[in-house]
């Protein structure tokens, strides 16, 4: 079973050379720490930077330089700042090639819910609706089950949707799954996790291949 950093490490393998990538808040942010040396990748943060670097050395934080999670960051050589309309022009216009974001629920037809629990939690969608409606390549990073132990991979989402039919791949603490033809397709299992555990933790339709390789991390 993976921890959050393990999920991030596995997702880092999805990133290809030359890609512009948007990482959501939470686990996705950790992906940046696991990009292999030598891979040319630029991170976009939708509040207005391309070429986002690591957190600043203590004492050099700049209140005017943050990421979409409101964290202080740095700018790498070649970075550029821009306004929010330009930022979402990049996203909506599909110039950002890979989006990694968290979810509360994902359905077997690729719907995603991650912005609202009616009557209880209403933080808002931020840029998530633009991202999922636009990106060609959307990977969800999340725990396979919620705190109550219930599956977050469902036949249909019960929470208000963020986007429809948009998620292509889900990476959880238990597995890598692709979404196609209205079902989850098990691709890899996390180290030490059995197929049975994954089956038990997945409520949506799940297609199993003959052999389920373990992730190589």
């Amino acid at each position: 079973m993976l921890d959050k950093n393990g999920i991030a490490r596995r997702i880092a393998q999805e990133v290809q050379n030359g890609q512009y990538v948007n990482l959501g808040i939470g686990i996705p942010t950790l992906v940046a720490n696991h990009i292999p040396e030598g891979l040319d990748v630029e991170f976009q943060s939708e509040n207005g930077i391309l070429g986002m670097g690591p957190f600043p050395i203590e004492g050099t934080e700049d209140a005017d330089l943050i990421n979409a999670g409101k964290q202080t960051i740095t700018a790498l050589p070649g970075a550029v700042f821009f306004d929010s309309a330009t930022s979402f022009a990049m996203i909506r216009g599909q110039h950002v090639q890979l989006t990694v974001l968290g979810a509360m629920e994902v359905s077997a037809n690729g719907d995603i819910a991650n912005w609202k629990i009616p009557g209880k939690m209403v933080k808002g969608m931020g840029g998530a609706m633009d991202l999922v409606a636009s990106a060609e390549n959307i990977v969800v990073a999340m725990m396979h089950t919620n705190r109550a132990g219930e599956s977050k991979l469902l036949p249909t989402c019960s929470l208000p949707l963020t986007g429809v039919g948009c998620v292509k791949r889900v990476v959880t603490n238990l597995a890598v799954l692709d979404i196609k033809n209205g079902a989850f397709h098990l691709v890899e299992r996390a180290p030490g996790v059995t197929v049975e555990e994954i089956v038990n933790a997945t409520d949506g339709a799940l297609i199993l291949p003959e052999v389920v390789p373990e992730m190589s991390l």
Partner: protein
């Protein structure tokens, strides 16, 4: 001679704001927010206002200050976490809230300033956001029709500005400020440094002065950091 927008200070900047008006306020989180104008709006006690702003500040800073005094009737935002008082007012029904995707919010403000009354976007199709909105397919993909946003006043914050209202923002404090500057009937710019006409390189200006009606040098910027994250010195 260039048209001067210089005013004396924040009191003159907020002149003519009235109860029930619609305001736009630049900033993302607490980054790039018009601190001086927000303080003045709190001081003036203007009520029943609609605020268009990506976020709603935190409990004791930024728009949170207006919320705390119940001056806001309606918020139009994309993300309002990090603010318990906001959540309380919203869930209790005291505060009307219109949550819209961040990119649509940015584009709707730009459209308001650019004389584009409406445009199609894929963001929000199939979600609550699309309720009551026209859906149309382009290139086989469904899109929804979004309309322009404008405001009686737009309050923006820039790094440098000149007396004719030309603005330069710093780093990611730019965010929503340029589009909101375009969309205000009266746009008020507060700047960290107000420089004489001709001091800014005309090639490096982010917001042309034509969009700004009032400009002044703000004071005592706190520029609070929401999430102070640091790396260890290797």
């Amino acid at each position: 001679m260039a048209i001067s927008k210089e005013i004396k200070g924040v009191d003159e900047a907020c002149k003519d704001v009235k109860d029930g008006m619609t305001f736009m306020l630049g900033g993302f989180g607490l980054c790039g927010i018009p601190e001086n104008c927000i303080e003045e709006l709190v001081r003036l006690g203007v009520k029943d206002v609609t605020c268009i702003s990506n976020n709603a500040g935190v409990d004791n800073f930024g728009l949170g200050k207006l919320l705390k005094k119940s001056q806001i009737r309606k918020m139009i935002s994309s993300y309002v976490g990090e603010n318990e008082e906001f959540e309380r007012q919203m869930l209790s029904g005291e505060l009307e809230v219109d949550l819209i995707p961040q990119g649509s919010l940015a584009e709707r403000c730009r459209a308001g300033g650019a004389g584009i009354p409406a445009f199609y976007t894929p963001a929000g199709y199939g979600t609550e956001v699309a309720a009551g909105k026209e859906v149309r397919e382009f290139n086989g993909k469904p899109h929804i029709l979004e309309s322009a946003l404008t405001a009686d006043f737009a309050f923006v914050k820039a790094w440098k500005g000149d007396t004719s209202g030309n603005l330069i923002y710093k780093a990611t404090s730019r965010n929503f400020n340029p589009m909101m500057a375009m969309a205000g009937k009266i746009t008020v710019a507060e700047v960290e440094e107000l420089v004489p006409l001709g001091s800014l390189d005309p090639n490096e200006i982010h917001t042309p002065g034509i969009f700004v009606q009032r400009i002044f040098q703000g004071r005592s910027y706190e520029k609070r950091i929401e999430q102070r994250t640091v790396s260890q010195n290797k």
